[in-house]
């Protein structure tokens, strides 16, 4: 029997891939492990892989009101902002992609330009605006501000996704008697779904991890989870590594869940294939 020989090029490529994978995954695994360690096990000179796990850190995190409030704020603010981004961004992107007028190019550039400015440059004006309006340190202020981010990101990524839908397919639906709105719902959205889900997930991760604007727009009530987590490191002289790691785990879970739900939804849409 002939055996395929592993050529050196392939071997090197695989090694590089394995290294990159290790670099990406190891910190996450280490963080997850540290979340289960006592502080003593974390600060030892020799890293410990085998240790007695403890749920104290996680228990501490989940027992704090500030963390739970932060989690609630993050979920509401990011969830609403992404929802608004979907509701407004997707139809806008479709209109720009399919019914371009002479402003289509300008619209696209404007949407992108929203992302040019460093957040710190807009954070202070935004803070002043919300103070004036009287909504400083409230969730609505955060939702509206985050919506600017989600709409622009979703639109920017969805325009090429919609342009990728073959025009003839939509025309066939027109000939089948459907109007422009039905074509959007029944043809463009499902056909472009894979790319659109990516855009939505990306926008969620972007606002979920957002720190600076949230820091500027909240003082106590509307703090999001990243702000709360960062504050955990400022307690006393000893850095509570275990608690920090546990908060990081808590912070990472919702985007994972969100992606899981989205890809599950995707699979259910495209599963019919094999029946």
């Amino acid at each position: 029997m002939k055996q395929y020989r592993m050529r050196p090029g392939r071997l090197i490529a695989k090694a590089v891939l394995a290294l990159a994978g290790f670099l990406a995954v190891f910190p996450l695994v280490w963080t997850a492990l540290n979340a289960l360690k006592n502080n003593v096990d974390i600060i030892t000179r020799v890293p410990k892989v085998i240790f007695t796990p403890t749920l104290a850190n996680i228990g501490y995190i989940l027992g704090r009101d500030s963390v739970l409030t932060g989690l609630y704020n993050s979920i509401v603010a990011c969830g609403s902002a992404v929802l608004i981004g979907i509701v407004l961004g997707l139809p806008a992107a479709y209109a720009v992609a399919r019914y371009p007028n002479r402003f289509a190019g300008d619209i696209q550039f404007f949407v992108l330009s929203l992302r040019f400015l460093p957040p710190v440059a807009v954070a202070i004006p935004l803070m002043v605006i919300w103070l004036q309006v009287g909504l400083y340190d409230t969730l609505p202020a955060l939702i509206v501000t985050y919506s600017l981010l989600t709409i622009s990101v979703i639109m920017w990524l969805a325009i090429p996704a919609f342009q990728g839908v073959p025009k003839e397919i939509e025309e066939a639906a027109f000939v089948d008697g459907y109007g422009a709105y039905s074509v959007f719902w029944r043809i463009a959205l499902p056909v472009a779904a894979r790319s659109l889900i990516g855009a939505i997930a990306f926008s969620f991760v972007l606002v979920w991890n957002e720190f600076l604007i949230a820091l500027m727009l909240s003082s106590s009530n509307a703090k999001t989870l990243p702000i709360v987590a960062s504050e955990l490191s400022q307690q006393g002289m000893n850095v509570p590594w275990g608690i920090l790691n546990a908060s990081v785990v808590l912070l990472s879970l919702p985007p994972l869940l969100f992606l899981g739900i989205l890809s599950g939804f995707l699979n259910s849409v495209f599963r019919q294939k094999n029946n």
Partner: protein, 361 residues
């Protein structure tokens, strides 16, 4: 009553005019083919009938109703696209049923009709599959099923076979012809392939630069081309064109060109002494000359293309490349001298200036 009438139809994109003052009436049950080189406006015209392109000027009516401002779905048409345009996220069943669902047809009837259409087109085993799991020919059949099921007043085909390989194309062409025979639905079919046009059409509409060059049955267009463009476009191998001068000679006429002198009776043509004309003759109309034959075209065989039954012999005569399609057994050797003659009935004469046919009607 005509099924489709276009009167003074114009189409322009900004300053670019694509179709100019086009008039056309298509009869009920007729199979009409729009034929022309790419960019001649044939697809645009079809899409205007479908309602996928705005009509810049003039009027289009389908079944006696002006449809200029009607949506595609309200025109009573069904269309088959070049690249099939199947809905990739739906099963074959749903693809075919999609139009009926819009018409709020009860589910049980949809099922019955989809199955009936699938049976006609041999698609039954594939109803549960997705379009990407089907071959090109099967996908095109689904596209035809999707059009058929709506029992439209008019079928529109936009180069439906050009994405298929040659063998499948022949097969599908026959299927489309059969389908039209049994359904008798008025059909407009766009193609750049003259073989498809000749075999399928009741009438061919030959377009060039957004203007109709000629309308007629395939035989009419082949035998009596209205101008030099039509003559050159239709027929494989292409017609030979020879520039010639007309002179009166007794009761007849002589043509001088391509290094030869040809004498004609000329009663079929409008001719005048001193006219500059283009003589057109199809390669199969050139016959190996017998001794003493008149109207000779001669030279040395430059290029011989063997076709099986026939051979295409290309030779130079008076600095002009001329082709003759002769039976393979009469095929000369490469570089051998050849002599061909023709019957007067088989020639075409065109005005050198306007390209218009000089044949008397």
């Amino acid at each position: 009553m005509s099924a489709i009438v276009c009167s003074h139809v114009d189409k322009a994109y900004g300053a670019t005019s694509v179709i100019r003052d086009l008039n056309l009436a298509i009869e009920e049950h007729e199979f009409v083919v729009f034929l022309g080189p790419s960019g001649c406006g044939k697809s645009t015209l079809l899409r205007m009938l479908a309602g996928l392109e705005d009509i810049s000027g003039g009027e289009v009516s389908i079944g006696g109703k002006v449809v200029n401002d009607l949506d595609p779905g309200d025109r009573g048409i069904a269309m088959v696209f070049q690249n099939y345009a199947l809905y990739p996220h739906m099963t074959i069943f749903d693809n075919v049923a999609f139009g009926l669902k819009r018409q709020k047809v009860p589910a049980a009837e949809i099922k019955k009709r989809v199955e009936a259409v699938a049976k006609t087109l041999g698609l039954e085993p594939y109803l549960g599959r997705k379009p990407t799991e089907l071959s090109g020919g099967q996908q095109q059949r689904v596209a035809i099923a999707r059009a058929m099921i709506k029992t439209p007043k008019v079928f529109l085909f936009d180069e439906p076979l050009s994405n298929l390989d040659a063998k499948l194309r022949n097969h599908m062409r026959v299927e489309i012809a059969r389908l039209h025979q049994s359904l008798k639905t008025t059909t407009v079919y766009v193609t750049h392939d003259q073989l498809e046009a000749m075999t399928l059409a009741d009438r061919i509409v030959l377009l060039k630069d957004g203007v109709i060059e000629q309308i007629g049955s395939p035989a009419e267009i082949y035998r009596r081309p209205g101008n030099q463009f039509v003559a050159g476009f239709i027929g494989t191998p292409n017609m030979n064109f020879i520039d010639a001068m007309v002179a009166r000679k007794g009761d007849g006429w002589t043509l001088t060109g391509a290094g030869t002198l040809l004498s004609l009776e000329g009663s079929d043509f409008y001719l005048q002494h001193g006219d500059r004309v283009v003589l057109g003759i199809r390669p199969p109309d050139l016959k190996t000359a017998e001794a003493g034959a008149a109207n000779l075209l001669q030279g040395t065989a430059d290029l011989i293309e063997f076709h099986g039954n026939d051979a295409l012999v290309t030779f130079g005569s008076g600095g002009k490349e001329i082709s003759a399609l002769v039976p393979a057994r009469e095929c000369p050797e490469q570089s051998a001298p050849v002599r061909y003659s023709f019957e007067e009935q088989s020639i075409h004469l065109f005005d050198a200036e306007s390209g218009r046919s000089l044949r008397k009607q």
